[in-house]
Symmetry: C2
Subunit: 386 residues, 2 copies
DNA sequence: ATAACTTATTCCAATGAATTTACTAAGTGA
DNA sequence: TCACTTAGTAAATTCATTGGAATAAGTTAT
């Protein structure tokens, strides 16, 4: 049970409309004040006054004149892409990744730090210090994606087994140290935020991003908002049972999706059936698929088949028409997508499937840092639905 | 991709705060102006002026004084439960049900009309006319739940095979005829709205109501909002495949949840295995369970088992902690819940299951009309999250 | 070239909802 | 009776949006 909604005050209205104007310009590319007014239903006066603030804040710039349509030519506005820089952090199991991006998600700096087994927090500080040292644009804040159960509202890492973190108030720690706004969220959720902000399905009301790597997690947008769940555990689809009498999973059950469709499951199976001197890698799987290796293809098809079942469940439940696959397995591209789509068609209603678009992410290995920064962007500048 | 959010205007703010005050009183039972101010963070002045309007509108009344706590005793306010009456309609496959309820969901009138094979719309008019004829409180509007694909935003029944309706602009038709606000939604969605407004999990941020009758559908609340889906098809879980090589379903696939866990599937199986002179009914199943009939119990357990799998998927995906079962099968109560909970524990992560609460609906057979009225209530008076 | 017209943008007074401050109402406790 | 507390109202203030007029800067018809 959640409490009452917030009250509406003048300041709130002001902020809301200010963000609305900014978003219109952000989405519009190069747009005039009048067109912003038309788009938002705000009066030209209100738009002008907000644009004045945005110009003052150096978030927006005037970029020339539109051709006249029989009257005074409009002054075109566009977002000053590097008006702010954003720090995005990816606290992965084995390394820390950090990027500095601009307001459009263009990467301006990238730092990586292999975890040395020592205090993770200290190494995180080190990474942020490095990133900040090389930046001279005003920094909007810090966004963080991390594995585990993360209370985004409180800014607390409730559980992150791999990192040894338990109820760590990371937001407040970093906020105090750097004097910047800090936001954190689960890495799968953050991946979805990345797609929602910078990906191909930008601004989709309903969007499901399935992250297939060592484990399998999903990030879900419903009605334009990220789904956290009642205990910040939404998207744990790795442990959905798809093979009632399958392999034992680390969670204690049998036949979890993770045991048949995760990247590690695939590679482990390859190591067992087609041993090499070195363990298999995704790149080698790609090569084998290109060479049409039947054993490899059969294993990939199997993974795709079960992913298709899981996605069919999602599509049936939520009627989300945009599904995106991310994570290392997504690198297989069409070799994964084609059998997956077949499986989806077998396991969900035809009318639903026909309208569903399953794609592979195009954001690459920076997706988590991008999403972390997008989380920050959404909260600080309102580049987000309402 | 959805458009920009709406602008904030003074009128909007006013309406927002007006509704906020009303909701605080609605939720509060008997509450003073000052306490409303504390709860909402509005100033006492703002609360007072809004309360004045609510008193004027006869939506709220003063109901006495609170004991003094060392100062002037507070005047208690409460919602005038019958200040408005709401029409809720259930357009079922074989009959039309209509109720008039008050602001608290208390039923003031009930009318039923068996469909005679003729024009459904004409019979719907007839039902509404009957309901209106016997009411003398001001009517807030009309809410409708119907099977099929319903565009709630547009107020259009896109597809309702059983009723022979296709792209019927029901909202506008009824709105013109009766001069009242009209809202419609899919019956499963409406069922969830009923639980969210009047049920045991009132105001739960995340809530899944599974409706098991002839078919199986779900209504889902996420982040306090009903999930419609991209094409108004959310909640179609009846056709999730739970038995990869099971029975052929009417949808063309094999082993859909509907083929093993719907009320009709259960009764059909009983008619086949334990034939009677009359077809089996749910009441007879209840009686057989009370008498511990092993065959009946095995079949119920089987249905529960597969429902448990489907619910495990939902819980894993959404981390919703409130699950409610409604529809005719839910009448089996604990005989259904116990095996279902066992199955859920087998198919979802322990930590998730431990926090999940699976219950049976207590709203009975008026649930759709109640939910339809609640949809109206939410939209007209803002008894809803934001 | 000039006048008439369009369209974009700004200026300025008016509006109105929330806020602030001051005040009244109505109790308790010393 | 007086000091104090709490509830609620009234009047003055604030400030973001609004609406109308003014200005800027073009195009089109004459």
């Amino acid at each position: 049970m959640q409490g009452l909604p917030k009250k509406a005050s003048r300041e709130q209205s002001k902020l809301h409309n200010y963000r609305l104007v900014f978003k219109a310009i952000y989405d519009g590319g190069a747009i005039s004040r009048v067109d912003v007014a038309r788009l938002t239903n705000l009066t030209p006066t209100t738009v002008s006054s907000n644009v004045a603030i945005l110009l003052e804040e150096e978030l927006v710039q005037e970029v020339g004149l539109a051709p006249s349509g029989g009257g005074k030519p409009a002054t075109l506005l566009s977002v000053l892409d590097d008006g702010r820089h954003l720090i995005g952090l990816d606290v992965a199991g084995h390394e820390l990744r950090g990027t500095i991006i601009n307001l459009r998600g263009a990467i301006r700096q990238r730092q990586t730090l292999a975890l040395n087994g020592g205090n993770v927090l200290e190494q995180l500080y080190q990474l942020i210090d490095q990133l900040l040292a090389n930046t001279h644009s005003p920094v909007l804040g810090i966004g963080i994606g991390a594995p585990g159960v993360i209370n985004t509202t409180a800014g607390v890492v409730q559980q992150a087994v791999n990192l040894g973190w338990h109820n760590l108030a990371l937001r407040d720690l970093l906020g105090k140290r750097y004097g910047l706004p800090v936001y954190l969220a689960n890495d799968s959720h953050v991946t979805a935020i990345a797609e929602h902000t910078f990906g191909s399905q930008r601004n989709a009301a309903n969007l499901v991003v399935i992250n297939v790597g060592r484990g399998i997690g999903a990030g879900i947008f419903i009605n334009g908002r990220i789904v956290g769940g009642d205990a910040w555990g939404a998207g744990e689809i790795g442990h959905v049972v798809v093979q009632p009498h399958g392999t034992l999973c680390r969670c204690g059950h049998y036949g979890c999706l993770e045991t048949v469709a995760s990247t590690s499951a695939l590679l482990t199976k390859l190591d067992a059936t087609q041993p090499q001197s070195q363990p298999w890698t995704i790149a080698e799987v790609q090569a084998a698929l290109a060479a049409n290796d039947p054993t490899v293809r059969a294993l990939v098809d199997e993974a795709a088949y079960y992913l298709g079942i899981a996605i069919a469940n999602v599509v049936g439940l939520l009627n989300a028409q945009s599904i995106i696959l991310a994570g290392s397995l997504a690198q297989l591209g069409n070799d994964l997508l084609q059998p997956l789509r077949r499986s989806l068609a077998q396991h969900a209603l035809q009318t639903l499937v026909a309208a569903t678009d399953v794609q592979v992410s195009t954001l690459g290995s920076d997706i988590v840092t991008l999403g972390a920064a997008a989380l920050l962007l959404a909260n600080e500048l309102g580049i987000v639905r309402d």
